[in-house]
């Protein structure tokens, strides 16, 4: 009798043989699946999202980002880790993560949009996020500039626009009012240098040198690559004019030390009370205000005599560039959906507002509504920042951003071209020919493979 037989089967602590086999069989199958997949079962997994970014020149920006990241993590029960490194370390870190196909889920990219081309095959498509973010924030500033090979491989994140940071007391002393052109700054720099307060812009191997010298090149009507992204256009009469101007600026209005300046040297020059003006974001002013730096020999705070005005215009145009800092998601990440979810959260208007406020406007997003953020009206120092953002273009302008344009930036071809002529090492024609050859070689080398 089956029932009798079943009852007569010995049971161990209330578990029948059938139950035992069912449970152990399922366990073995599960274990096999876990071992085969190499991943812990969902219930045992601790979801962790990691983010690699760079230390901001305004540290409160990083604090706010961390707060948002942790808040999002708590809401979604995800462990989060934000790693902040110096911006100069980012290049090697990115390369190492791509080479190893392992590392963080989210990563800062830049400076410049070139990373999208350089790491095209390793970045997740962000078309959906870019589409979601834009309407909520009044649209992207120049969406066509951010599309790489027709795709959103990164989201442009923030830019520090480059106005002119000037010493109002020295301008007054020299009888100068409302300077607006590069020629004005040559004249003022010359007068300033005569009284020990030269003009200051980096001309060596630094990002700031790339920014300012490209701005001057465009302002004189020059460029280095055509809109098609193929033809090198550096050899032009406009470039010659820009070079002659920079030579005068270097010899008549600046000290030779600018050839060895790094990205923080101009900040120090202004805050030390030496430079009459520098072409730089508001970071110098922010640190002067925070540290209560005094004008040498006085008890007056230097922040009180600093003002920020529009980036200068040249005979042809008014243009500037800057470090285009971006954010992307590695496609080898196991948490692409989580990473995208955090990006959606971070790019919500209220979070962007708080983040820009924390950065005192240094970190301007590439979103229409954020360029009108209240912070830019909170202090007269910031009044020109949105104006500068309007004339800010990617460093490869008018050509598209590519790995080749990024290499032109990384090798400091433009600053070296200007410096070779300014220092008298080469004639203008020789320096242009040198730069043209280097650029052609870089662009040709990048074309050889799809």
């Amino acid at each position: 009798m089956p029932t009798v037989h079943a009852e007569s089967v010995p049971r161990v602590r209330g578990v029948s043989r059938r139950q035992f086999l069912r449970v152990t069989g399922a366990g073995a199958t599960g274990l096999g699946a876990v071992l085969a997949s190499g991943r812990a079962p969902a219930i045992a997994q601790t979801r962790e999202l990691t983010f690699l970014t760079i230390a901001s020149f305004v540290p409160d920006t990083d604090k706010e980002l961390k707060r948002q990241f942790e808040e999002w993590g708590a809401k979604n029960k995800v462990k989060v880790r934000l790693d902040i490194i110096a911006h100069l370390q980012l290049q090697t870190k990115k390369a190492a993560e791509v080479q190893a196909r392992s590392g963080h889920d989210l990563t800062a990219l830049g400076p410049g949009l070139g990373d999208a081309d350089l790491y095209y095959d390793y970045l997740a498509d962000l078309n959906d996020i870019a589409g979601d973010v834009a309407p909520k924030n009044g649209g992207w500033l120049s969406p066509n500039d951010y599309l790489i090979r027709g795709k959103w491989k990164l989201l442009p994140w923030w830019q520090p626009p480059f106005p002119m940071a000037v010493r109002t007391d020295l301008l007054e002393q020299l009888g100068e009012k409302s300077p607006d052109t590069w020629e004005d700054w040559l004249r003022i720099g010359k007068k300033g240098k005569a009284i020990g307060h030269p003009f200051g812009t980096a001309m060596g191997h630094s990002g700031d040198a790339n920014v300012t010298l490209l701005s001057i090149l465009w302002s004189y009507g020059g460029s280095y690559v055509a809109k098609d992204g193929n033809r090198i256009t550096i050899n032009s009469k406009e470039t010659r004019q820009a070079m002659e101007f920079v030579k005068r600026l270097y010899t008549e209005a600046m000290d030779p030390e600018v050839l060895a300046w790094d990205d923080s040297s101009n900040n120090r020059c202004l805050n030390a009370g030496k430079c009459i003006a520098i072409h730089n974001p508001i970071s110098a002013y922010e640190s002067a205000k925070k540290d209560k730096v005094l004008v040498p020999g006085t008890q007056k705070e230097i922040a009180e005599v600093i003002d920020h005005i529009h980036t200068p215009r040249g005979p042809v145009d008014r243009k500037a560039t800057t470090g285009f800092w971006c954010v992307g998601v590695w496609n080898f990440s196991k948490n692409i959906d989580l990473a995208k979810d955090f990006l959606r959260y971070h790019f919500q208007p209220e979070n962007q507002n708080k983040w820009v406020e924390a950065g005192h406007g240094f970190n301007m997003p590439f979103l229409q509504n954020l360029t009108k953020h209240a912070v830019y009206k909170s202090d007269k120092q910031y009044r020109f920042i949105p104006e500068v953002a309007k004339v800010t273009v990617p460093p490869s302008w008018p050509g598209p951003t590519s790995a080749a344009s990024q290499q032109v930036w990384d090798l400091y071809i433009v600053p070296d071209m200007f410096a070779q002529h300014a220092t008298g090492k080469m004639t203008a024609d020789q320096a242009i020919a040198w730069a043209e050859k280097e650029m052609q070689e870089i662009y040709a080398g990048r074309k050889k493979r799809p």
Partner: protein, 316 residues
């Protein structure tokens, strides 16, 4: 009985013990032990030296980019480098930098070694202190040098101006030639202890009788140095110069921190230019080609230098 019994037991176990002894003998033989002892070093060299070297050789002959091992392109990377003005400048810089730094280190290293050899009081403390530049992490010590020479607040300039030695700031880093001088100076400062201590070891090993005999023959200090010290130090000098040449040629930290290869690429060395091309721009193939450009020449130099060391040792 016990003895007998014991013997019987031994006889019974003989074949097994013989087998065991045979195995022991085999394991204790020279060849397997030698292999076993050499194996860790061999595998270390294989994975930490040979593998990276072969990989970089492959990279230099390929169009590898970050994240992509690339395809074979032969000597294309080297051909492209020879067409680049920045690379030719880098080549020139590397040769000047290495030659200047090596010459300074040899001359001052020898002088310092002779000085250390003569110092008797606080010998251990002084010899230990001399090693400090070599021990402190290069990145850290170079940052201090940068602070001393940086364009705005150079403490060197401040001191020189305060002492009325100069009227205006000396452009240590902005001037292309002074920048090269500065990086050579810092490299010399860092490498000097290696030269001094190694040469000192060579000096200690020279028999005193030779100097006494020379003195008896009326040889003066310069003569004793030139005809005894220098010839007997030749093997040590050759090895120390060889090692230092390789390290100096591959220097990265000093230039990267002080000048980033500027101004106008006048201080770029193979390592810094390779870093920009390979890691910043993602052109790993090109970066590897820069690094390996001088490898064939170095190989020849190393071969002849080692030949010289061998001859000198035989003579000694």
């Amino acid at each position: 009985m016990q003895v007998f019994g014991g013997d019987v037991a031994k006889l019974g176990e003989a074949p097994e013990e013989a087998r065991r002894r045979g195995l022991f003998d085999a394991l204790a033989g020279d060849t397997p032990v030698a292999y076993a002892l050499v194996a860790p070093a061999f595998f270390l060299l294989l994975f930490l030296v040979a593998y990276p070297f072969v990989l970089s050789l492959w990279f230099s002959l390929s169009d590898a980019r970050v994240g992509d091992t690339g395809t074979f392109v032969g000597l294309e990377n080297f051909r492209r480098l020879l067409g680049s003005g920045i690379f030719l400048q880098t080549l020139q810089n590397s040769i000047v930098f290495t030659a200047a730094a090596l010459s300074l280190k040899t001359v001052f290293g020898m002088a310092l070694a002779l000085l250390l050899f003569r110092i008797v009081r606080f010998k251990k403390i002084i010899r230990g202190a001399v090693l400090l530049p070599f021990i402190v992490p290069t990145a850290l010590s170079t940052l201090v040098w940068w602070w001393m020479f940086e364009p705005l607040y150079s403490v060197v300039n401040w001191t020189l101006k305060s002492l009325h030695v100069v009227q205006r700031d000396i452009p240590w880093l902005p001037d292309p030639y002074l920048a090269m001088f500065t990086v050579v100076l810092v490299n010399t400062w860092r490498g000097l202890p290696f030269f001094a201590i190694t040469i000192l070891a060579g000096l200690v090993a020279i028999p005193r009788e030779m100097y006494e005999a020379a003195e008896c023959d009326g040889a003066r200090a310069a003569g004793r140095f030139w005809y005894i010290t220098v010839p007997l130090l030749k093997p040590v000098l050759a090895v120390v110069i060889l090692f230092s040449a390789i390290f100096t040629l591959a220097d990265f930290n000093i230039v990267y921190i002080l000048t980033k290869g500027g101004p106008i690429n006048m201080t770029h060395l193979f390592a810094t230019y390779s870093f920009v091309l390979g890691l910043q721009s993602g052109q790993i193939g090109q970066g590897a080609a820069v690094s390996l450009f001088l490898f064939p020449i170095l190989l020849v130099v190393v071969f002849f230098q080692l030949q010289m060391v061998r001859r000198a040792t035989t003579y000694e």
